[in-house]
Amino acid sequence: MYRYDEFDEAIVRDRVRQFRGQVERRLEGALTEDEFKPLRLMNGLYLQLHAYMLRVAIPYGTLSSKQLRQLAHIARKYDKGYGHFTTRQNIQYNWPALVDVPDILDDLANVEMHAIQTSGNCIRNVTSDQYAGATAEEIEDPRPWCEIIRQWSTFHPEFSYLPRKFKIAVTASPHDRAAVKVHDIGLILKKNADGETGFEVIVGGGLGRTPYVGPTVRDFLPKEHLLSYLEAVMRVYNLQGRRDNIYKARIKILVSSEGVESFRAQVEDEWAKIKGSGVDLPDEEIERIRRYFAPPAFETLPENSASFEAARKADPAFDRWARVNLAAHKAPGYAIVNISLKPYGKPPGDITDAAMEAVADIAERYSFDEIRATHEQNLTLPHVRKDDLYTVYKALDEAGLATANIGLVTDIIACPGLDYCDLANARSIPIAERISERFAAKGGEEDIGELKIKISGCINACGHHHAGHIGILGVDKKGEEFYQITLGGSGAEDASLGEIAGRGLSSEQVVDAVERLVDFYKDNRKGGERFLDAYRRMGHDAFKGVLYADAQA
């Protein structure tokens, strides 16, 4: 993991001191709320329906046990004993008092964390694959590049007042767990024909009001030029992006209105002029950062673990958890453990201080002190010995964290919705809870297989509904909550946008409608087809008909 040196430390401490001064000026009345707003937003502090909300950055989703314990401490001391993991690998606290926020930021700085640029029209926290450094699929660990981007984008003097917020995601695997094609910039590490490593650069994807799957602007960028190329993209956007209409201000609108050819030509022209100007890091600095991400000291182990296999045979619940929540690790005898934050009938992504402590303890002992946050609002222990899996499972189970539903129908993404957010039109969490309860009671989740339900409480799409196999969008119709269904979206390597299925359903109807969709899929699937595959084969109308079956009856 990356560790701060004296410079990183000084920058974060300076920021806390600066914000403490700003909060003092606000509390004394020297700043009005209007004047304070842009300052607090640059520090991830929102004013929500009932209280302030603080969004803390978890750069590329990587946490140490010490850091997670500090997040637990903050939840306990300044909040109501829980935190909420978001779809961008961050954590949010929903109930901090303004006067406490500088102290919270100090507590974060003590463990090399911050809330810098987690909101505002600037470059946000860079996100990545939660399996980075643990999966055999990847070309190389993408996290050194994420850290390079984190440093470069922190307080960038030219790009801190962009037309709109800006999100960058990086992956190095063919299997995209970071949703790179629906980000403002998506970077995919790959090798060219000569065996050199570089980036495919995707620009202008995004969800929100006008969703796009981003086009590839450069097929292969030599990796040493990453920062100069990013500066070229950012400069074209800063100068050309629309500022007259907040809904047309994201880079996706610029790329789409200019056309990808013209946009590419502008970026390449700009890049040619700044390539050699000292923006790119020297090799020694890239190496310095890379060294922090050296693989942990894996033991030499046989691929299979007899104790693991024996425990699976003896304990069916463990066997199911192992089938659903584990992923293959690159080192023989190790596994990647996914921890579901989607217990049945509970708000997705929420976790108590005690559960955070439990995960921190387990990670310290059994996962080389590392934890990852995922964009699907779960946690991951990246490096667990197969011999330890049963012990880890038992410890997770004791903490209420052994729900075996990763990637299944109850592993639902949902934004905070109208329960917290002042932008929302409708509640998201209760819908997620009721769908989860329904399928938990019904059983057969594993038989249904991979099915991604994503719920947003408004068109801003924080719940990624466009990218859900089944997407649910909350809308307000004359003061009543309605839910519009989209079908066939994906945020993975086979990215696509869901198609709207017609008029909205009431909150009463929506759970039944989802169940009918799933039953229809089960009745009609062929071979090993997932829901998404069956939808793509059979077409929108087939599924749409099922959705409204009860209304016609």
Binding site: D5, F7, D8, A10, I11, D14, R15, R17, Q18, Q22, E35, P38, L39, N121, Q151, W152, T154, F155, H156, P157, E158, F159, S160, Y161, L162, R235, N238, L239, R243, K273, S277, G278, V279, L281, P282, E284, E285, R288
Partner: protein, 164 residues
């Protein structure tokens, strides 16, 4: 309005600017000032490239922040300094917040159309950060370059230790 001038890291209040202001429209109409001190007023939606050939005619270029959120002039200023080598004053005009002045100074602004009552707050804002990650026209050493310098110094002192 008086102008705050930034020189060698500190602000001083200048009297009302003495330059005659030339608008972009006048420039486009062919006005090319010769004798005297002139300032060119550039809207933030033009490419600075358009006036690059005539920059040496102007003692100042005035760039605009119609609202604080509109950050196009940050790019314009950096381009004027880095790409077109402009050495005169780059003055910020419009909605200038205390907490933006550091970024403005970093990309090359050294004049600010604000009242004298802002001197103290602006000076404070300028000194809030000790280190920066990015190279920029203000010439501050980026962090990676400080790291390299520290590494070299460490290496040298070790070598000297061995020689002694």
């Amino acid at each position: 309005m008086p102008t705050l001038k930034l020189k060698n890291g500190s602000f001083a209040l200048a009297d009302a600017p003495v330059e005659t202001e030339i608008t972009l429209d006048a420039w486009r109409d062919g006005v090319r000032p010769e004798a005297g001190r002139f300032a060119l007023v550039l809207p933030n939606d033009v490419k600075v490239e358009e006036v690059a050939g005539g920059l040496n005619r102007f003692a100042a270029i005035i760039l605009q922040f119609p609202v604080f959120k509109d950050g196009r002039a940050y790019s314009q200023a950096r381009l004027l300094r880095e790409r077109y080598g402009y050495k005169g004053e780059i003055r910020a005009r419009g909605n200038l917040l205390r907490d933006q002045v550091l970024f403005m100074a970093r990309v090359g602004f050294d004049g600010f159309d604000v009242g004298g009552e802002k001197v103290e707050a602006f000076a404070e804002a300028l000194s809030e950060f000790s280190f920066f990650y990015q190279p920029a026209p203000d010439g501050a050493l980026p962090v990676w370059s400080r790291r390299a310098a520290r590494r070299d110094a460490l290496l040298n002192s070790r070598l000297q230790g061995r020689a002694a």
